[in-house]
Structure formats: C-alpha cells, structure tokens
Point group: C2
Chain length 399, copies 2
C-alpha cells in the first residue's frame, strides 16, 4: 500500500528552495530555505519543551495548528534564541515582509531558525535574500534539505507514496540535527509534507502521536535545544478520508518521520554507531521512556559502544538509574541482550561467547534489548556512540 | 573553632589499613581496605538510588543506621554488582568471616565494593588476604585512601579539627570516585570518621543533610552507579552535646564532605577544569537542583568549557532543559555570569569583554552563576569538563 522511495518528490501543492544568503561564515554553504504552499494547507507541529525557546518557537506556537498555512522560512547559522526583545521583533518583521512578498497574510507564514544561540539575528542579510529565495522556488527539496544543515554531515530526506485506487499520494520529509538532540526534541528541525488527506480535526493529534514514536525517541547528547520544531503539512484539498485510509496515511507519515529520526541519530555529532535500544516488559510507557532515556544518554554506555565493548554492566547501571523515580523493588529481574545475544538473563549473568559478541560490536548498528519482565509495554529508540570527534566538534563551535 | 588540616590524623578509636590483595590486574595497586573501630560506634549512611544496587549496598542498607559499628571492609577492582545470587552470598560470607576474625558480631561489619560490574566477586582472593589486612591496621588512613581508587588519579582526603575548651575532636574523611559520578551519588565511596560526639538520634539525619550539600551536588558524567555509599562514623563514647556544639560539629563534617566532593569532581575522568555552578533566585531547592543537574550534565556545556569557550548560549539551553518539568512561563528573566562577568542580564545579552573572559576560561576553576530572579533559593554544585581523555578511559575499561 505504501512504498519507500529513494527519490524525494515534492507532494502536490508545494514548492521549496534553498540558497546561500551569507549568514554562515562558510559562504559556500546554503543557509536559507523556504517552503511555499500554493493553497491554504493544514499544519500540525510540535515544539521544544525547553523553557528558553527561540523567537521563532514562541511565534509559531501561537499559530499552531493551522488550516491556512502558506509559507515557512528557515535559516541555519543563527538560532535567534536568547536574543532578547530584538530577536522577537526581527522574527515578526521577517514574517511580515515575507507575507507581503508572497501576497499572503502574516499569520500564514511560519519561521524556523537553527544555529548558534545568543548572537544577534542577521535580519538584514535574510531580508536582502528574500527575492532570490522566492525566485528559486521549484519542485525540488534537496536545496532546502541542505540549507537547514549545521554540524550535520549529510542532508536527511525520506519519502513514501500511497495508492488508494487510482489516487496516488506522496509524503516527503526532510530534517536536520546532529547535536543538542534528545527525547522531547533537540536542535532538530523536521518537516513532513504531504498531499494526502488528513481531517482538520486530526492534524495536530496525529502530529503529536507521530512525534512521540519518532523524534521523541532519539538522543544524541541529552540536550534539548531552544529551537526544535517538527511539522506535518498537508496540501490536500479533500480532507474526508475513511478511518482505514487515515491509518494507512498516518503509518506512512510515521515511517517517514522514523526514517528521518534514525538518520539524525546516525549522523549524531562524531557518531560511528547507530544504537537501537528496545525497552520491553515494562508496566507503562513512562517506565520504558525513562529507561530508554537513561540508556541512550549515558556517556558510559555511549563510550563503551564507541570502544566496541559489550560492557553490559553499564547498561544495567543505566537501567537502574532510569528506574530511580519509580516505586519498584531493587534488583527486580532484568534481562539484557546485545546484538541478539543474551548477556544477562533475569538478573543472572549468562555464559555468552564474548569473542562472537565483540565481533558483532563492529557493526554500524548496535541493537540493545532490555526486558524488565514486569509488564507488556515496550518502546524503541535510537542514539549514537560518544567519540573524540564529538568533543572536537563541540569544544570549538562558537569561537 | 575548626581548622583545616593538610595532614590526615585518624580520630580516636579508629584504625585503618590498605593492602594489595591481587584483585586488580595491576598487581602493584592496593585494592583492599579496612576500617576498624575499637569500640561500638555510631554510623549514618546514604546509599545509591540506582534500582540495581550492588550486593554490599543491599546488605549494608539493612544495618543502617547503627550504634554498634565495628568494621568496614572495602575492595576496589570489582563492584559485586549484577553478580546474581552468588554475589549476595559471597558478600554475606565475607562479613561473617571478617566478624569471626575480629571477634565481633556479623551485623557490626559493613562492606563496600567498587570496580567493574557483572564480574564474579573474587571472594577467595579477599578471604586469603584478611589476615594480612588485619595485621596492617594502624593509625594511618593513606593506605585505605589508595586501596579504594579505581580510575582516580589521586587519593582524596580531608581533615578538620574542633576544639571545645580542652577537648579536641578530629574529623577525617577519604573518598574515591571519578566516573559514574552524579547527584544522588555515583561510583563514589566516601567515609568520614570522627571522634566528635553526635547524638544517636541525629546521626542518620545529619548524614543525609550533609550528603545533600556535598556529594549530591557533584556530577562527572550523569551516571549514578550501583555502589555509591557515604558513611559518617563517630567513635565518641559521649553522645551528649549541646545544640550549638552539634552545629559546629555538623559544619566541620560538612566541610570535610564538601572538600572530598570537590576533589572527586576535580579528578573527574579526563577533567581539566573544576566547574562550580551556583543556581540562585529560584522558588525552591528542587528547581535549583534540576537546573544544576542540567548544567553540570550537559555535554555541550562540558565541551564548551573544555574548549575554554564562554558559550553562554549552552548554559541558557541547559537551564531551559532543567526547568522543563516546572510550571513556569517560557523565557522568564535569566541572568548568567561566567567567572564573575555578566554575559546575560535578565534575558538580554550583555556587551561584555569577550577577550577578557576567554582569558579567564584558562583557569582550572570555572565559576558559573545563573540567577532565575524568581525566589530566594540557591544551590552550589561541582562538575567537570568533558575531554578526549574521558572517551579514551571509558571506551576501553572492561576489555
């Protein structure tokens, strides 16, 4: 019913562009992007929970959800966060100016920023580039997928299509993020565009559900940024869709979102391994997420995996930390497997083949499973190892 | 009334020893220590909140608090954590054997372990070394301070004395810890011995209060170990003490504990800088601690400090994360100063001298202050930067 795609066609009704405006020090890198919808579109979004959100997050929150979306402008190289009142004014001024140029209302224009925190927003550079940005609009989203990159090594794109009889729908997403990445979002921007129908009443709830199963399950460094935003935007004119079709559409959007989330984790700053951790046998989703969080953010787990070392004691330690806030007996049975090999079975160390497991630790993908043997809830999430390269990238980012 | 000391005299009533038993791969390193009290002593203790605590933590918890303390045996090189039923049996057997040799009751003997998780406890090596360990007892605690070291580069000791009239009391502590260090304890063992009087009814509450203001305010890597234990042990025969004197005694013990806690943070794995962060202007202690935790555990803050970079945007980001769970308005006024220089004043970036601040970032001690301008609570805590050396140490610890 749905197909993965290795090309990234733009759904009907949308055009995108991505250009070099000169915000970034490296003047050969794209830094300004635009999504335009040729008709009023439905938009659901989830934003950072950080208590010092950027100007664009505060601005866009007030417009979300929307059934009148027409444009979103995004810049990299500057977060417009901790920029005081001036940052808020600049953001509003940009939305107004762009709305005028596109002949739409200001409240139909969304903004996103990603980059350094606490540096004045380069409003003149951006304003001077608007005509070029609008002039570059086309049915290609590779430009914008590059324009949102900061320390990302690769652009992140995913696409699926759905056929209902003769009707074909496209779902295409792009995202950025490789540091400040953590459950509850990160310096992470993700946009999923579709022409598939979604009821107006469902768009925001559907966006939240999908975010919980994708971007809220990844962690690079445990830091939630001031700027995170995840959008689902549908240009479909027709919103009526039966329950079964809507499930198929939601599943396809979720698969695009999970693909983008995994691409973010795999491209985590300095990462050599993508970690896929499943927490199962828990009494609640909350327990699963707390343990998942503790495992994916533990520097000791992340460095062990970097060292290709099946040091499961650190997984047990991290799980025990994740469980701290729950009223559970100490040393309840726990089973751990790494790359499918059981290393701890109901609290007793297993006699596994260390050599075989060490060899499996060479893989790019490291699969961890923790079973709490207490219930039926399970959650899967993604993270990455911690390397010298992460230190290098982050010890020298502003100066 | 109290004096810092650069020597570390053992309080009256105690003897200690530290020897090489052969648990560690490096056979030139001490790995087994013993504290003996020649009379029944008062003991208060705080243990890890990790839900997979080691065998010794589970065992000692049941004996705490105690007014009959006689001995504590501690080994490094093996955590006796995640060692299943055998680990629990081995720990009990060790306590029984040592009690017999010392002619005391088993429930007067405490145990501690630190080192690798999930490896069988080396009970025979330890048992074979008990006579040598007991034979080495003396009024010197340098041996045991070395015997508890794992990845620590330095032993950690602190001492104070108090004079009430002609009566002189000594408070001497020693501790270990440099990884898995986090508020709510870490692979951290700390022992404070004193001959100063403490009422039986107060020992446990006093120990908890002091732990909250010292070891619960440090973080190296955000990981809370399975083995953390903090003990205050008083050999005083006389327990009656007036309120004023008890305050002086508590303050002196607290200063010893804070000194040890700071020594642990400064010796954090791979650390070049000790970070001292003060969170003030908060409506509650809980808010302070949540923000402190977010700041001290943020890899982005830690790498910025490693790079000697006054990147205060990351401090704001971390503070905003620490505030996530509280019902506060977004972008409430925040002030930040680094090394005494204000960089953000009530939410507006200040025009500070970047060159001067960058020079101050060379210091071993980095002082950070965050003012939330909302209340009168404040907490100070300690952490360290994140370096390549941390990755190196932790990518290769088991194998």
């Amino acid at each position: 019913m749905s197909n993965h795609s290795s090309t990234f066609p733009i759904p009907k009704g949308f055009r995108c562009s991505g250009i070099i405006s000169g915000i970034k020090e490296d003047k050969s890198k794209k830094d300004l992007g635009l999504i335009v919808s040729d008709r009023d579109s439905l938009l659901g979004a989830v934003y950072t929970q950080n208590k010092f959100p950027s100007a664009h997050v505060e601005y866009c929150k007030k417009l979300t959800p929307s059934n009148r979306f027409r444009a979103l402008i995004v810049n990299s190289g500057n977060a417009n966060a901790a920029t005081g009142l001036q940052g808020i004014k600049d953001n509003e001024h940009l939305a107004e100016t762009l709305a005028q140029k596109l002949s739409v209302e200001t409240d139909q224009v969304f903004t996103s920023s990603t980059g350094i925190i606490g540096v004045s927003y380069p409003i003149s550079i951006i304003k001077d580039s608007l005509d070029k940005l609008i002039g570059s609009l086309s049915q290609d989203c590779t430009g914008i997928s590059e324009a949102i990159m900061t320390t990302d090594l690769k652009p992140k794109l995913a696409s699926q299509s759905i056929n209902f009889g003769n009707q074909r729908y496209t779902i295409t997403g792009f995202a950025k993020g490789s540091g400040m990445i953590h459950p509850n979002m990160a310096t992470m921007l993700a946009y999923v565009l579709t022409d598939a129908p979604i009821p107006n009443s469902e768009i925001q709830r559907l966006t939240k559900r999908i975010c919980n199963r994708s971007f809220n399950c990844i962690s690079v460094d445990g830091d939630t940024s001031t700027n995170d935003s995840f959008y689902v935007i549908s240009s479909a004119q027709e919103q009526s869709v039966d329950h079964n079709q809507l499930s198929i559409i939601e599943k396809a959007i979720e698969e695009v979102a999970i693909s983008l989330a995994k691409q973010i984790a795999a491209d985590g700053e300095g990462a050599n391994h993508l970690i896929e951790a499943t927490i199962k046998g828990a009494t609640s989703d909350e327990v699963c997420r707390s343990v998942l969080d503790a495992v994916l953010t533990s520097n000791l787990v992340k460095t062990a995996i970097h060292g290709k070392d099946p040091n499961w004691g650190r997984l047990l330690m991290a799980a025990g930390n994740g469980l701290q806030k729950f009223d559970l007996q100490a040393n309840s049975p726990l089973s751990i497997s790494i790359q499918g090999i059981p290393v701890l079975i109901q609290g007793e160390p297993s006699d596994f083949d260390e050599q075989a497991l060490t060899t499996l630790m060479e893989n790019d993908l490291i699969k961890i499973e923790l079973d709490l043997h207490a219930g039926s809830c399970s959650v899967t999430g993604w993270g990455c190892d911690l390397s010298n390269e992460y230190i290098h990238i982050n010890a020298d980012y502003t100066t």
